[in-house]
Symmetry: C2
Amino acid sequence: MQLNDLPTPALILDRQRLAQNVSRMRARAAQFGVSLRPHMKTAKSARVAELATGGKGPITVSTLAEADYFCKRGFRDLTYAVGIVPAKLDHVAKLQRDGADIKVITDNVDVARQIAARGRDLGRKFRVLIEIDTGLGRAGVLPDAPELTAIAAALAPRNEELGAELVGVLAHAGHSYHSHSVGEVKKIAEEERLGALEAALRLREAGFPCPVVSVGSTPTAVHAERLDGITEIRPGNFVFFDLFQAGVESCGMEDIAVSVLASVIGHHRGRNHLVIDAGALALSKDTGANEHRPGTGYGLICLPGGKVPLPGLAVLDVHQEHGIVAHAKGLDAISPLPFDKFPVGSRVRVLPNHSCMTAAMYDRYYVTDGGSAIVDEWDRVNGW
Amino acid sequence: MQLNDLPTPALILDRQRLAQNVSRMRARAAQFGVSLRPHMKTAKSARVAELATGGKGPITVSTLAEADYFCKRGFRDLTYAVGIVPAKLDHVAKLQRDGADIKVITDNVDVARQIAARGRDLGRKFRVLIEIDTGLGRAGVLPDAPELTAIAAALAPRNEELGAELVGVLAHAGHSYHSHSVGEVKKIAEEERLGALEAALRLREAGFPCPVVSVGSTPTAVHAERLDGITEIRPGNFVFFDLFQAGVESCGMEDIAVSVLASVIGHHRGRNHLVIDAGALALSKDTGANEHRPGTGYGLICLPGGKVPLPGLAVLDVHQEHGIVAHAKGLDAISPLPFDKFPVGSRVRVLPNHSCMTAAMYDRYYVTDGGSAIVDEWDRVNGW
């Protein structure tokens, strides 16, 4: 099958770019002597996880649906990196019975007590990381907060065998996404390292075990200069990258491994725009990349076989199933678009703003080796 | 099963509100003597379509995946209201063979020629509406454009039996979404009517058949004062409504029929926010409602059994699986949130900004009759 045979919109994955992205990140982890536990929230695909871990290695997941999917496909070493609530512990216990070594995270003393209690009730041991806030300000305890040791104590109140087990600390410097220079990313990466490490050292000094010191976001994983004391990194987006990551200099345009194949479905010469069949659902409404690159709109346009965006064109507006392609400088730019180069029925590729959001709209990847042949079709898991 | 038993995040549909919304729109269509051909791009659900049409009545679809899904479930009178491209005609022909009377739309002379040619090649007749632009400026020909009759002529160049058949004109006044008063919506509705009608009259005067004169968006369908000359309306969002439609006064808050059930997964007292497990994927990144109601963020918060939003709280930020609930007036508002009312593990309902986008993230509706019991589970179709 060829690109031209696919129904549009369709999600295209360039396996060569994926392999390069993965290989670079694996080399970085090896260079720093840390484990790579890639976050599968972006790809949600067993085939991508196999490449990213070199087999059925350790991964991070963002939903219990991902945990189920990956566990069934032989990935057993899982960290579910979204704060756990007690109502989800029975599902976690089921995953344990299915063979998963699944770690959960919390930043809350009451939840820690309930984890330990539920573990005892079920005759199980839940393995827990304490979430640390190193500046993102989303979730997590501060490295110097009194709650840190209180959570650790609540997890194993009488040092019992069952119930819960503290396995470490986990930080995510997601605020690196809003950096405006590589220097700033490096600074945030070092704060992420130091914050996670400070929390780990405090726990160890208080007599708690803390074997795992986990950090990671794609920008900090790409740019960190030191990882001393860190045991694992958890970047996710790096497998695919996107225009946002290009904007924050985690990658180049030529590293972006996913794109949306779309058909030109109309010419609106009066408004000087093309209409494509990739709209708000096919691309997502994420406009984050415009923070770093104004004029990116909802995505940049490549030719169907193109590797880099055509200069000056962007998806400037979206409706549910319509994308409006116009001059990147604005919908009222007056020089006429090259309509004849894009007849109705012709095709384009759209580089996504945010690959995590765009890929989530599809149930499969059409895989290429960079050319026009579809060499494989990979599934992915969505939902919760 | 009760709301409390559901895994979160989950999409909840209040069947009573749905029934009221549908009943009001059906009454409006009857009052004006027009057909209601509800747009299934919002609900994408056969159960909703049955209620909205009173059986297996005429519907509008936004994807060929919807056309397949509804055709299999006995809905045969379909209008696919996104500009067709020649590569999709074989799929349309397959739907015809499966028993569907499917209408397609175009605004392009070249495409019209290709539709007629492909129809002749296949020994079929494609049924076509010409898309009219009455001010949205997305797609469609202007009512007074010369292309209008050229497209009509291209569809049946030698008045042959096979190939293509012009069945009418279709307009969508989506710019009503950006109105700032009901008066403005009424004006746009009248322009939509007059534009569609002008196109139909021009076609009829030129000797072309034009039995169908189709208009519709939810705001114009709710507020139109005249529909003389119109044969059908195609609102879609009205089945569920959302905060955007409440903002543009298509509905009240108490009419919003879908919401996202979420768990509180964290307290960040230092940043004065709650974290819920409904983030960018569970809610979508649509922030359109803020155009009319600043402070809506990514959604408003209700208690789990709540019918209307709690004053002053909104989802002000989202990450992929995290929603940040804070004072609607801003993330830096200083009065402390009522953390004790929302312990970690407790649940909230989030009213969506844009129900078409939010519902698209789920594969099913958990149906209630307004109470806490889940009385049914309805599927929906996503993707393309």
